[in-house]
Each structure stands twice: as C-alpha cells, then as structure tokens.
C-alpha cells in the first residue's frame, strides 16, 4: 500500500524551472518586448504573467540572491552585503555561503526527495553538498570549491566554463569587456542546456550574471540610440531572449519562472556616504584609508556599501564612542541629515530606513542601524578614500530596488494580485513542486 502511494506521488510530482537574469529591470524587458528585441519573452508573457517585483534592501546581489534562495529577510539569513565588519575588530570580511543562517530552498526540496540543479546563483560559494548539482556563482574563486559534486569539475573544464565575466577587462577597453561578456554567456548557456537535458532533476535553477555585468558598464548605451554600444546592448538581449526560447521550447508541464534580483538605471552621480559622515563630524579616518578598517578614534558612525550606516556603539565596537542610551538620538540625527542631501537643489535620498523597519530574526543584531535608499541615478557607495561627496567613475549603471523582474508561466488569475517581493520566489517554487513552505520563510507563494 505504502509502496503504491510512493509511485502515485511520483506520477503527480511536477518539476519547476527558474531562470535568473541578474539585474534585468522589468521596465527593460517590457520595452524589449514592445520593440521586438525579445520575441520569445513576448510569447512567454502572452501565456503567463510578467510582473514588476521588489527586491531586498540593500538591493545588491549577495543580499538579494540570498533572500531569494532562503525566502527570508537578512535578519534571518544574515547576509547584509558583499562585505561586512567583524563587530569585535572593524575587520572586513567577505560573507560566503557558510555564513548563511537560513535553509536554502533546494535543501527544503532535497528533504522531500527532490533533486536540484543550481547553477551560478551568487553567494553559494563554497558549494555545499546537496542532492543534485551546484556550481556556485559570484564571488566564486576556485572552480573546485565552487562545484558539487567534484566529479563535475572535469566536465566544466572540458566545456571551458567560466564562473564569471572578468570586469577588470574594462581597463583594457569596453570592446574587451563586451567580448568577455558574450563568451561567458555562451559558455554559461551551453552548460545550462546540457545539464537541463542530460541530468535528472525536479528543480532547475540557472542564473545568468552577464546581464548585470553588461549593465554596470553599458547602461548608458541603451538610453541613447546613437551610442556606440547601443546595438551591441540590444544584440546581447537578443541572445538572452534566444536562450529563454531554448528553455521554453523544452517545457512540458513544468512551472517556469524567470526573475532578476534587482533592476538597473543609469547613474548620474555616485554618492560617498562616508564622505558625508566625515564632513558632518561623525566619522574620522586614518591617513590614506583603504577601508573602514582604517577608522580613527572618536568616530560615531561609519557606512558600508551600498547605503548601510552603522552607529559606532561603545561596547559593540572596540573604539565605540556612542553610549547605548544615546544611540537612538545619534541615529535620528544622522537619519535627518542624510535625508537632506541634495544635488543642485533636488533631494537625492528617497528614504532612510531604521533597522527594525527592514529586518527581523535571530541575526538582526548584525544589521546596519540605517539603510539609505536613493532616488534613481544616485548610486550610494561605501568607499572611504573620496575627497568629495559626489563623483563619477567608470560605471554607468546602478541597481534599483523596485524594478526587478518576475515571470511565471501561469495566468494572472492563478496568482496573487499584490506586488511580488523577492522572498516570495522560493515559496512559489516549493508550492509548484507540491511542497509546503517552511515557517522560517518570510515570503508567500504567488499562487492563489
């Protein structure tokens, strides 16, 4: 009887596919559907729902993808940025997959006997064992530590698989970077399709990061039809669309999702919050500072990329100066001051969030005290070596929080009508697999 039930369950179980496009804005997808750049995406939209999605705050890949994979907010999963500060020292460290405190959606699926393929999701390095295959994404350094099981490594090497675009190529030339973007994308797509076709799986997650890399350096090109790289940008998205077509023609009865972890918009100015803290007397730095490790005595606050502000509390940090009963006052003062930053008379800060407005969970103590959100065009940065508040660098695109993409191959009538959040994606995928959503996930399935 129980044996029979198992077979029955197998027959009923459905598979789910998620394709990630790092940093692809929903507005850009809509535009490329309208102007014919993405015909496959147009077909997909006609058969399903293409939605604008909110992502995590901060809206950078490490936080956003971790929120995706755990369905949880950073107060639970513990990843607040690409860099973090050790409270007992100010020492900078780079959080890795081992710092993630919440269960991943593929671990939940594994527990139910579902096999998962997880390729190029940022912040999964080093690869942790799973029932299935995982090749870690940004910031993976060593292919051996990025890959589970190890037996896959020779196959990756034989395919000349590349973990990531080398963004340093831009120092040679934009052409060199564009070539690298295209080659990396080709290799990525080749691997994704091969594993899709040849490996058994119940949950397939494949992320393309080349979209993000392109947009960091070429975001100005798409706004300007006369730009040298305008058609190259468009051609790149034709390739993305072709890949989406290759996936969609393989679909049988799978649930298919497409998502991005944040949106993108052109940069007007980069804004260095640590400069503002120095100029306003909250932060003191040693000579020629390289990072916040070079904080000097007498500091009351410091900032980390992108808009994270930490109060230098006595007892929490080695040279903390702010008494615990004074934290609320200093926080409010900085919040007010930051809110008033302007450029040519126009305010550039959209909102300053306090910690408890954004984060809740067991690791909320490690959260920034404030998270600053700018208006489009003003990219908040954590650099400490800047002599002016605003400047331009080589980057032409910045992330946005309210313009991520979510596509589900189900009609709107099958879905909730409120705006999705990135933490809703994992519950949606588990729901599609016929599994319950763990309580430790903050998000909810998009299926009604």
């Amino acid at each position: 009887m129980r044996l029979f039930d198992r077979f029955k369950a197998k027959e009923k179980s459905k598979r789910a596919v998620l394709i990630g496009l790092d940093g692809t804005p929903w507005t850009l997808v809509e535009r490329f559907i309208k102007d014919g750049t993405m015909p496959n995406m147009a077909k997909l939209r006609a058969a399903g729902s293409l939605l604008q999605m909110d992502t995590s705050i901060p809206d950078i890949s490490s936080v956003a993808w971790t929120s995706f994979m755990t369905g949880a907010n950073p107060g639970r999963h513990g990843i607040y940025g690409f860099l973090d500060v050790q409270p007992n020292s100010y020492k900078i460290y780079f959080p890795s997959s081992r710092h993630i405190k919440s269960e991943t959606l593929w671990a939940v699926a594994n527990r139910a006997g579902k096999r998962a393929i997880v390729i190029n999701v940022p912040s999964t390095y080093p690869a942790q064992p799973l029932n299935g295959i995982l090749v870690a994404g940004f910031v993976a350094v060593d292919i051996n530590k990025a890959t589970f099981p190890a037996s896959l490594v020779p196959r990756l090497q034989a395919m000349d698989y590349r973990i990531d675009v080398d963004a340093r190529k831009v120092q040679q030339s934009h052409d060199a970077l564009m070539d690298d973007v295209l080659v990396t994308l080709d290799r990525r797509v080749k691997l994704l399709l091969e594993l899709y076709d040849k490996e058994p799986w119940d949950l397939f997650i494949g992320v393309v990061t080349e979209t993000d890399r392109l947009q960091h350096f070429f975001m100005d090109a798409i706004a300007d039809a006369g730009h040298k790289y305008h058609s190259a940008f468009r051609d790149f998205y034709r390739r993305i669309d072709a890949f989406l077509g290759q996936i969609s023609e393989r679909l049988k009865d799978e649930t298919m999702l497409i998502m991005s972890d944040h949106g993108f918009t052109p940069i007007k100015q980069q804004v260095y919050l640590n400069r503002w803290l120095v100029d306003n007397g909250y932060l003191k730095l040693k000579d020629n500072p390289r990072s916040i490790e070079d904080i000097a005595d007498g500091s009351r606050a410091f900032a980390m990329d992108p808009g994270r502000v930490y109060i230098n509390v006595k007892g929490k940090y080695p040279n903390g100066t702010v008494e615990s009963n004074d934290v609320a006052r200093v926080t409010a003062e900085i919040k007010q001051g930051l809110s008033e930053i302007s450029d040519n008379g126009a305010k550039i800060i959209k909102r300053v969030y306090e910690r408890d407005e954004l984060f809740s969970g067991p690791v909320v103590a490690f959260a920034p005290d404030l998270c600053v959100q700018s208006v489009y065009g003003y990219d908040l940065k954590g650099a400490v070596n800047k002599t002016q508040l605003m400047d331009r660098e080589i980057f032409t695109g910045m992330h946005t929080q309210d313009d991520s993409t979510l596509y589900i191959n189900s009609p709107a009538s099958a879905l909730r009508s409120d705006k999705p959040h990135i933490t809703d994606v994992a519950p949606t995928l588990l729901d599609a697999l016929g599994l319950g959503v763990p309580e430790a996930m903050d998000g909810r399935s998009m299926f009604r």
Partner: protein, 202 residues
C-alpha cells in the same frame, strides 16, 4: 597527526547505507590524517565471528566482539568505525559503556524504501520466507533513542550524509575542523576584493 581514538558506531537496517557511509567517512578522515579502521558486519562474520548465527544470543556475541576490537583500536588513537546492523539497543548501550569515546550514528531509512531498493536481493528472499531472522522483517530492530548523529539516507545523498557526520564530529570536537578555511583564505580574499572593486563594491 596525533588524533584521539574513537568508536564510531553505525547502526541501521540492511541496505540503509552503513558500509557506503563508513567508506566515505574512512576516506575523509584518512585525508585529514587520522588512523582509521572499518569493522564491517558482513566482513566480521566471515572471520572474527565466523560460525555465529542470527539468534539474539549470537547477534549479541558478534556485537560484543566488534565492540571489543573497536575499544582496542580506539585506545591506540585509531578511529574505529563499526558498520553493523546491531539491532538490539541494550547491547549497543553495553558497548557504549565499555568503550571510552563512543559516537552512535543512526543510519535511518524506512523499510519500504529498502525493500523497494533491495540492492542485495535479501528483502525479497526474507519476505518470501527464504531467509529467517531478517532484521526488520521477522526480527526486531530497536532504533537508537538518542544517537549522537542521525542521517536519513532516503532523503539525502551519501555525500550529504557523510558531510553531516563529519560536521557533527567536528562539533563534538572528536576531530578538528577541516583545514580548509571557513570562508576565504587570505589569498582568495584578496581576489574577492579585487573582483568586488572592479564592480565598485569596495
């Protein structure tokens, strides 16, 4: 490496994965410089316990012998891995009392899954009555009440189970954590920093 000796006792039904996991753990521990010996129930019954049957008394004798050898090995700094069905709780607990450092690993897998897998063809025979005293079919299996480690081999791959056993042994401080850095090595961290700088994150 001058490691501490230990008896690592795998218990579970036939086909649950005791031998497979014992071999994976053996390799990992050897790679980390430990002295390791595996006492596999099937093998022990061809030499040390040759002639013993499957009555409760004979099973107990078999387990006592394996436990005795594990104790000798562990006293000499060896990690002795016992992989035997060892269905009776009282005798496992007796071995635990006799041996110093003892870690019980429950290799859990539902019997219907094992019967379906039936790698050695034994369940079919046992269910047909061709094998008597088969644990889980016509002989009891008393699951551990508080094993130090439990892995569920119907829900995870052998590699996953092995990784969990190793992690737990690290937590219990029987073995030191892998020399592989918890996060990035200094060299790797510099590379990470350069890549993040290239995208403007530092």
């Amino acid at each position: 490496m001058e490691g501490k000796g230990l008896t690592l006792w795998f218990t579970g039904l036939s086909g649950a994965g005791k031998t497979t996991l014992a071999r994976l753990i053996e390799i990992e521990l050897r790679n980390r410089g430990h002295k390791v010996e595996v006492l596999d129930g099937d093998v022990v019954r061809t030499n040390l316990s040759k002639g013993l049957g499957f009555s409760k008394e004979d099973r107990d004798t078999n387990i006592r012998r394996i436990g005795f050898v594990c104790n000798l090995l562990a006293r000499n700094g060896v990690i002795a891995i016992a992989a035997a069905i060892s269905p009776y709780r009282d005798i496992r607990d007796e071995v635990r009392r006799e041996n110093g450092a003892f870690v019980e690993v429950f290799i859990k897998c539902p019997i219907d899954v094992l019967a379906e897998r039936d790698v050695k063809g034994l369940y079919k025979k046992a269910m047909a009555g061709e094998i008597k005293h088969f644990t889980g079919i016509d002989d009891p299996y008393e699951a551990p009440l508080a094993p130090e480690i439990m892995v569920e081999t119907d829900k995870e791959t052998p590699e996953q189970s092995a990784a969990r056993i190793i992690t737990r042994l690290e937590e219990l401080q029987y073995i030191t954590a892998s020399s592989e850095p918890d996060s990035y090595s200094d060299e790797d961290a510099e590379e990470v920093r350069r890549r993040l700088e290239a995208l403007g994150y530092v």
